[in-house]
């Protein structure tokens, strides 16, 4: 059981970072469909940098930059150019798959995909707490980025609910014209929110590449960005609710690994469907009552505040 819970948290970690990044973006009024691509860019930049420099810290820093760079492109397109947000996100995802696969072969491999190997971030037991029964192995014997993910959830909550910039961000997501009248610059706020969200999603990717597998494979995020998107909706755009939703998806995935070990008469493909079916079912359960940020999906133009 403790092993199952530990696996749940491990699997949920990349989702948590990515979903928290998505919250920043969506709370500011920009749909975060591009999370998948930002995550992939982060995973790539992180593991390549760690591989070339030998420093995991540099790797994590690069993943922040990679995710932020991908997000900045989406931010400029959706704010300055008022591009349709969801499809721009999709474009970012296509671009990220192409760009990472191309750079892997073109810059590093002379045409072929090279072998990238770093030893994944090891578990870092918290002295004292790690020896607690149950809680110790589940919560306090995780790799470092998992602790950071939990801290980030608290930090984003405090930022959104207890600080002035957080209030401004939410105001822009609810009513950009009013926020503009109140002295905020909605375009700037959205650009910052989307870019910072992308940075977080980039770390989510780094969790995959640096903490879980230690290498990069084409399109390795494999839909996790979309699951994070679903987690945000299930978690009603609040950090702790979203954290719970991510843990639930993590549990579905961990269960899948379990069941695969049991050799049940269900094929692995059916079991692989669980996270997607579970999130659809949860969205269907929560969807109707979900309160989207009021201005999400709409472009803001200073000269045309009504649009």
């Amino acid at each position: 059981m403790t092993e199952f819970l530990a696996a749940t948290i491990r699997i949920a970690t990349p989702l948590v970072f990515t979903a928290l990044g998505g919250i920043l973006s969506e709370r500011a009024g920009v749909f975060a469909v591009g999370l998948e691509g930002m995550m992939l860019a982060g995973a790539f930049a992180g593991v390549i940098t760690a591989f070339l420099s030998g420093s995991m810290l540099a790797g994590v820093a690069a993943s922040v930059l990679g995710g932020a760079a991908m997000a900045a492109l989406a931010a400029v397109a959706t704010t300055r150019f008022r591009a349709e947000q969801m499809v721009t996100g999709l474009a970012v995802n296509i671009l990220a798959v192409g760009l990472t696969s191309f750079l892997l072969r073109g810059l590093l491999g002379h045409g072929e995909a090279p072998t990238i190997r770093v030893s994944p971030l090891a578990a870092m037991p918290v002295p004292g707490l790690a020896s607690l029964p149950v809680l110790g192995p589940v919560l306090f014997s995780q790799p470092v980025l998992t602790y950071v993910a939990l801290a980030a959830a608290v930090a984003i909550y405090v930022f959104l609910v207890r600080t002035r910039p957080g209030l401004t961000l939410r105001a822009v997501g609810e009513n950009p014209a009013a926020a503009f009248a109140g002295g905020a610059d909605p375009l700037r706020v959205r650009m910052l929110a989307v870019t910072c969200g992308g940075a977080l999603a980039g770390v989510g990717g780094a969790v995959l590449s640096l903490q879980q597998v230690g290498t990069f494979t084409d399109a390795m995020t494999n839909g996790r960005g979309y699951l994070a998107l679903a987690a945000i909706i299930v978690g009603r755009w609040m950090p702790f609710g979203t954290l719970l939703a991510c843990l639930l998806f993590g549990a579905a995935d961990a269960l899948q690994l379990r069941v695969q070990g049991l050799r049940l008469p269900v094929s692995s493909y059916v079991i692989q469907m669980t996270p997607y079916v579970v999130s659809l079912a949860m969205l269907a359960g929560f969807g109707r009552t979900a309160q989207l940020p009021a201005a999400i999906g709409t472009a803001f133009a200073r000269d045309r505040p009504s649009s």
């Binding site: 008022r82 349709e84 969801m86 474009a91 192409g98 191309f102 045409g111 659809l280």
Partner: protein, 348 residues
């Protein structure tokens, strides 16, 4: 005031400029990447063009490749016109191919056109059903169609993998693929000696029908009103729910047809992962075509030839094929930005 002919030209230029500029910009930015990889971009693009158009055979392959793009793209263009963001083309196409395979393998032996038509029909129904499921979840449970179609993509692709591992798989082949379909169900060749299949004509017909449906029928009018202004549509007594369901069924049916054509005309069997990339790229194509069914055709051709040319480019100058996805993604971002800037000035 300029004469009428000149005004029409100006309108055409205004409509054509954004996608063309977007494509040029995308090629320009991608050229920088090619330089960074230590290759000559002009040489790379030349070998890409040569690979795409170098012989009748290559052209036939490119046209075949563009066929599912045009079919799926038309459906998505109609959806987007009504602001129904259907990004489930991937799953709808995959299940269309699956259904066509199932029908071709299980139906009683029939002469050629009948067997082919039944298999194509199966593909249409399956694609429409999968899109209809997403539309139903949207209407009954309020899950946004973006998420419903997206998540169903993953489920649809996994269903194909699952079925190929089980009932429809070819025993002992070592690959996740179905046995070869009976020849009676294959799509005929259009030009002897090349791979060009009849599906290309079906795509042309779909483009024409899509154009007429959008601009010349009450159905298309309702879609356009819905997309332009929801309050106006409500005032005109248009039911958004019915429009959403019907346009989703139509678009899913077209994607399913595309999947069936891919199976019956290109592979002659169901291969795991055959739908990969078609659905998402079709969204890019619909946008590149300005959500105009007629313009979806050149956009689909562009993507089709881009992809067949890229394989030759990789062989000739060693520029990896994922570069194509970079061009596609960038084109999409640029077109969306141009559309965003000119929003509100478009013809309803």
């Amino acid at each position: 005031m300029p004469p009428a002919s000149q005004r029409v030209d100006l309108a055409a230029v205004r409509a054509l400029a954004p996608p063309l500029l977007a494509v040029l910009l995308a090629f320009g930015v991608t050229g920088i990447l090619i330089v960074a990889a230590g290759k000559n971009p002009l040489l790379a693009y030349w070998s890409l063009a040569h690979g795409a158009f170098g012989s009748w055979d290559r052209i036939a392959v490119g046209l075949n490749r563009a066929t599912p793009y045009a079919l799926t793209g038309v459906g998505i263009a109609l959806c987007f016109r009504a602001r129904v963001i259907n990004i489930g083309g991937e799953g709808q196409l995959a299940l269309g191919g699956l259904a066509a395979t199932w029908v071709a393998l299980h139906m009683v032996p029939a002469p050629r056109p009948i067997a082919t038509l039944c298999a194509l029909g199966g593909g249409v129904l399956a694609g429409a059903a999968w899109a209809g499921l997403a539309a139903g979840i949207r209407l009954k449970r309020g899950v946004h169609e973006v998420l419903a179609t997206l998540l169903l993509n993953f489920v649809g692709l996994l269903i194909v993998s699952e079925v190929l591992q089980g009932d429809l798989g070819e025993p002992g082949s070592g690959f996740p693929q179905s046995p070869l379909l009976p020849a009676a169900s294959w799509l005929g060749r259009l030009v002897r000696g090349t791979d060009l299949h009849v599906g290309v004509l079906i795509a042309l017909a779909a483009v024409a029908v899509g154009h007429v449906a959008l601009w010349r029928t009450p159905f298309g009018f309702r879609l356009r009103i819905l997309g332009a202004s929801a309050p106006a549509a409500a005032y005109a007594g248009i039911s958004p729910a019915r429009a959403l369901m019907s346009v989703m069924l139509l678009s899913g049916g077209l994607a399913g047809l595309a999947g069936a054509i891919e199976v019956l005309g290109v592979h002659y069997r169901l291969i795991d992962g055959f739908a990969h990339g078609f659905g998402f790229n079709a969204v890019a194509i619909a946008l590149l075509g300005g959500l105009n069914p007629l313009a979806v055709l050149p956009a689909g051709l562009f993507f089709g030839f881009l992809e067949t040319g890229a394989v030759a480019m990789q062989r000739a100058v060693g520029v990896p094929t994922p570069l194509v996805a970079v061009i596609q993604g960038l084109t999409m971002v640029f077109v969306l930005s141009a559309m965003g800037l000119t929003a509100g000035r478009r013809r309803v």
